[in-house]
């Protein structure tokens, strides 16, 4: 068993340990157990990161199924490998999962054991998605994340949890089935679904219509996950009704699968197809950016604000992809990582807040700063990161994306900057209303942040600032991936 397999399946250790202590009512012990076991994937992922930085090729391959069709052989192997982009997302996954499990202790109070089992199960699926090196294996892990997500939303969510869970499963099911069809077509054309083999196969770039068709299919399939307007309604529901600890992973990591897929399969495999689609993607990105920002401005519920802000931020990824040049793609990758960290931080804070106030309604929260200055302060910092204050990761990614888009589509870029202004407006409106609005004394006394809460929020914040100040830490890691992709685009 190679290092990557070990990493992907390492959360299983925790699952087994939790299964064995299922009958104990000791929540404290369950939590410590889950927390300790989520350190294993974290350490392994750091190890993998170090190996990758050291220039090691972490590839694994075990033959799995072969289909013999007439004179052709279709091979489907179990293949794992990482590149710069996926290794970043793997680290993101393990960090956010650890923090989500850490914070779940305060946020979740029923069936804690089962909750952690599903969380770790979800982590297996997510790590698998980013480590898979062929399309069908990617799909296998992608589908596997659906099941724990369904239970986590449906069982531990808020008022509308079951509807949110079903909406999640239907939208994502449709997206993944479309993806499966696209993968089947690729598989049959190439005879293999290994990423490098597929990219080589289509690099000739002759079949323009075929490439465009595949690009549309992939755009739709990953558009559900990203989500692209108008496929976003499930995501708002999940953001609002799922437990915040889960949304940390959902917004922080799972939504990034959409960006990951679009860049790594879409642009990498079918550069010609994406070139044809680029204007459409740019316009969709623009719609996402502006529509999300506008609706975020209108929301009265903090979690809905954040949901629409996610949609708006995902628009930036689309713009970066549409630019189809180095800066654009780099910006999109930056944005994926940075938004992952920022939304994880936001929902960590939302979870902390929700435990204390039982509501995230902006009006009712008004004047929070007086009760819990530290929490309000963190919210403000998170908002500043979200609106792209220089020195934080959000700024780097927005700047790079616009650098890319202005090169190829200046008009779209110009309209897009409007979105940036709106981002500032809605974030400040929501957060300032909440923290500095008139104090109503609806809650009596609220406790401010405790040490462990401060620690987990600070870890995320440090990552955000770290990327903001040293963007090269990310840029160097993805350099090679970026170059491989750019060869296909011809830029």
């Amino acid at each position: 068993m190679g290092t990557l397999s070990l990493l992907v399946f390492s959360p299983a250790i925790g699952i087994l340990a939790l299964l064995m202590t299922r009958n104990s009512d000791n929540n404290q012990r369950t939590h410590v157990l889950a927390l300790l076991s989520s350190f294993i994937p974290l350490l392994l992922s750091i190890f993998v990161f170090a190996l990758f930085q050291g220039g090691n090729q972490l590839e694994e391959r075990v033959s799995w199924i072969t289909f013999q069709v007439a004179e052709r052989t279709l091979t489907l192997d179990y293949e794992l490998a990482v590149d710069g982009f996926s290794v970043l997302l793997i680290i993101l996954t393990t960090v956010v999962s650890l923090l989500a499990i850490l914070s779940a202790r305060w946020m979740v109070n029923k069936d804690l054991n089962l909750f952690f089992i599903f969380m770790l199960f979800l982590e297996i699926g997510t790590l698998g998605v980013f480590s898979a090196h062929n399309l069908i294996l990617f799909f296998v892990f992608f589908e596997i994340t659906l099941i724990p997500m369904f239970f986590l939303i449906g069982k531990w969510g808020g008022t509308d949890r079951e509807e949110a869970a079903f909406r999640y499963i239907i939208y994502n099911g449709l997206g993944s089935m479309l993806l499966l069809l696209a993968i089947a077509v690729i598989f049959i054309n190439v005879g293999n679904t290994n990423f490098s083999v597929v990219a080589d196969f289509f690099s000739g770039g002759e079949q323009k219509r075929f490439q465009a068709g595949m690009a549309i299919a992939l755009l739709l399939a990953f558009g559900v996950k990203l989500p692209i307007f108008p496929l976003h309604s499930w995501m708002v529901k999940v953001h609002v009704h799922a437990p915040p600890a889960l949304v940390m992973i959902h917004a922080g990591v799972l939504l990034k699968i959409g960006a990951y897929g679009l860049i790594k399969f879409g642009v990498f495999f079918f550069p010609e197809g994406f070139e044809i689609l680029a204007p459409v993607i740019a316009i969709l990105g623009l719609i996402n950016l502006l529509y999300g920002a506008f609706l975020a401005f209108r929301q009265t519920e903090l979690r809905a604000v954040l949901a629409y802000s996610s949609i708006s931020h995902m628009g930036l990824i689309l713009l970066g992809v549409a630019a189809l040049n180095e800066a654009g793609i780099q910006g999109a990758i930056f944005q994926a990582v940075s938004h992952g960290l920022i939304s994880a931080l936001f929902f960590l804070l939302v979870g902390i807040l929700l435990v204390r106030t039982q509501t995230t309604h902006l009006k009712r929260l008004s004047g929070l700063a007086r009760l819990t200055p530290l929490l309000a302060g963190y919210f403000l910092v998170a908002a500043l990161a979200g609106l792209g204050l220089p020195g934080m990761s959000g700024f780097v990614s927005e700047f790079t994306v616009f650098l890319g888009i202005f090169k190829t589509m200046p008009v779209i870029g110009a309209i897009g900057t409007l979105g940036l202004i709106m981002t500032v407006v809605y974030f400040l409106r929501a957060i300032l209303n909440m923290t500095f609005g008139s104090y109503r004394n609806t809650f009596g006394n609220l406790k401010d942040l405790r040490t462990e809460e401060v620690i987990s929020a600070t870890i995320l914040l440090l990552c955000i600032i770290g990327i903001g100040i040293f963007p090269n830490s990310v840029a160097l890691t993805i350099q090679q991936t970026l170059e491989t992709i750019l060869v296909g685009i011809g830029g």
Partner: protein, 489 residues
């Protein structure tokens, strides 16, 4: 036919059938003349006899093709692999019967035990027959045994209703089948499949309307057993009325047999022809029709399943949907098709019998078949809930289970076909998502709802045996599908 010719036949290939036949006769005699207290051991005898039949069958692996009785009874890889599914499925169903904990005056009687063997014998005859007449005899043996099994719970209203519907619909379907067969016989002048195939590949098959009508009517009649549209309406009522092991039998073995007979007729006859230019019209008409049936079956089965609350009815509609999926490889006619159908049926044996087994356990404990018997199951019996989750995930086609590999195979087969069956593949994908809704609503019951008052006391080892076998099969085929696929090729 003198004695010498009779002796010259290679009877050895029929040893599995003889085993089942002898066991069936023995069991019926024991049931008739045996002591009352022996009777509960009858299923054990049946299990042992199926075990022996599987051993005999295993012994025939790699045996060269043989045909006896003037080509009416053949042994070929096809019959070997499908008989394996039939025997394996029946084995699991007998384990299910054995696991029964409550006493029931009617279900305790021996009829079940030997009628099921008779039906099994019928399906095995169908698997091996090389002649329309033999096919029909096997089919009728299966049908008549099934009618009685469904109606055996004579004090149960649903059982009576189900049996009545089954007999009437079955009668009509049989009439269709025979009518279609008569057309086929009429134009080809033979009842032997080899001859029919030869005639069809000649000019006779070229767009002859009688041939088209004959085969389409034949297909409609045979569609009864696999519960495709338009003969699907019986399934929910019959599954609901019959005792759960019988429902499982009808859903798995009887359906597998139905597919076998369809493959025998359509695959053997048309595959050897290939898409010859002169047979285009015939070919297109028939497979266009099968494609339409497949689409309708998938859509109706999955959509109506959304509204069901009775678990057996729900599984009935879901099994209708699955029948639609399995028809896709038949339409795409690639070299992979047979393998795909076989694999899907094998996966289907494990996941469906497993699901019926869980329902059987709960139904006995809670005296209900409503979906609410699952509420809070995870709290009452976590292992049972996990087992059911695995079966349902497999039925829904979630990766890691046999059902996913089955669907993936079918999908790849549909896309690789010439011309590619994008429509069928697309509808299958869409309906898979629809099926998520009703499968996942059972998950909601098991994991999210709180348990009702009745708690399951404990599950005996006998009940665990078929469950564990089914779980192993479902997961095993999902992670190591090559074992089965290599076995097949």
């Amino acid at each position: 036919m003198d004695l010498q010719t009779l002796q010259s036949f290679e009877w050895g290939i029929m040893t599995p059938e003889f085993t089942i036949l002898i066991a069936g006769i023995l069991l019926s005699l024991l049931d008739l003349f045996g002591r009352e207290r022996w009777k509960k051991y009858l299923p054990w005898l049946a299990v042992i006899s199926i075990g022996i039949a599987i051993l005999f069958l295993g012994n025939q692996a790699g045996h060269q093709d043989v045909s006896i009785l003037y080509d009416t009874y053949i042994f070929d890889p096809f019959s070997f692999y499908f008989k394996f599914i039939l025997l394996l499925g029946s084995f699991l169903i007998y384990l299910m019967i054995l696991s029964r904990t409550t006493n029931h005056e009617i279900e305790d009687r021996g009829e079940y035990v030997y009628l099921l063997l008779a039906a099994l014998l019928g399906t095995m005859v169908m698997a091996s027959s090389g002649d329309i007449i033999t096919l029909f005899v096997g089919l009728e043996l299966l049908s008549i045994s099934s009618y009685i099994m469904v109606g055996l719970r004579k004090n149960n209203l649903h059982s009576n209703e189900g049996a009545m519907k089954y007999v009437i619909n079955g009668g009509i379907a049989t009439a269709f089948t025979l009518f279609g067969m008569s057309y086929v016989y009429g134009i080809s002048g033979s009842t032997k499949l080899v001859d029919i195939s030869r005639e069809m590949s000649g000019s006779l098959g070229s767009g002859e309307p009688v041939a088209i009508i004959g085969f389409i009517i034949l297909f409609i009649g045979l569609g009864f057993k696999i519960s495709t549209v338009p003969f699907h309406m019986w399934a929910p009522d019959v599954y609901q009325g019959a005792a759960t092991p019988v429902s499982a039998f009808l859903s798995v073995i009887s359906k597998a047999a139905g597919f076998m007979i369809i493959i025998r007729l359509f695959w053997d006859i048309f595959h050897s022809i290939g898409v010859a230019a002169e047979n285009d019209a015939l070919f297109e008409a028939i497979f266009g029709f099968v494609a339409t049936v497949s689409i309708l079956t998938m859509v109706i089965g999955n959509i109506v399943a959304l509204r069901q609350r009775n678990m057996k009815r729900l599984l009935a509609y879901s099994s209708i949907g699955h029948a639609g999926y399995i028809l896709i490889p038949l339409v795409s006619l690639t070299p992979m098709s047979l393998e795909n159908i076989w694999f899907y049926l094998l996966a289907y044996v494990f996941m469906t019998i497993g699901a019926f087994m869980v329902i059987y356990i709960l139904e006995q404990a809670k005296k209900s078949e409503d979906i609410s018997i699952f509420s809070g199951l995870f709290k009452e019996s976590p292992l049972l809930a996990v087992a059911m989750t695995i079966f349902l995930a497999s039925l829904a086609g979630i990766p890691g289970t046999a059902g996913f590999i089955g669907k993936l195979n079918i999908l790849i087969g549909a896309v690789i076909a010439n011309p590619a069956q994008y429509l069928l593949a697309g509808i299958m994908a869409l309906m898979t998502v629809v099926s998520y809704i009703y499968y996942f609503s059972i998950f909601v019951q098991m994991f999210i709802r709180e348990p009702e008052e009745e708690r399951i006391t404990n599950i005996s080892g006998l009940q665990w045996t078929p469950l564990i076998l089914c779980v192993l099969g479902t997961i095993g085929l999902g992670i190591f599908p090559f074992i089965a696929l290599n076995f097949f090729s």
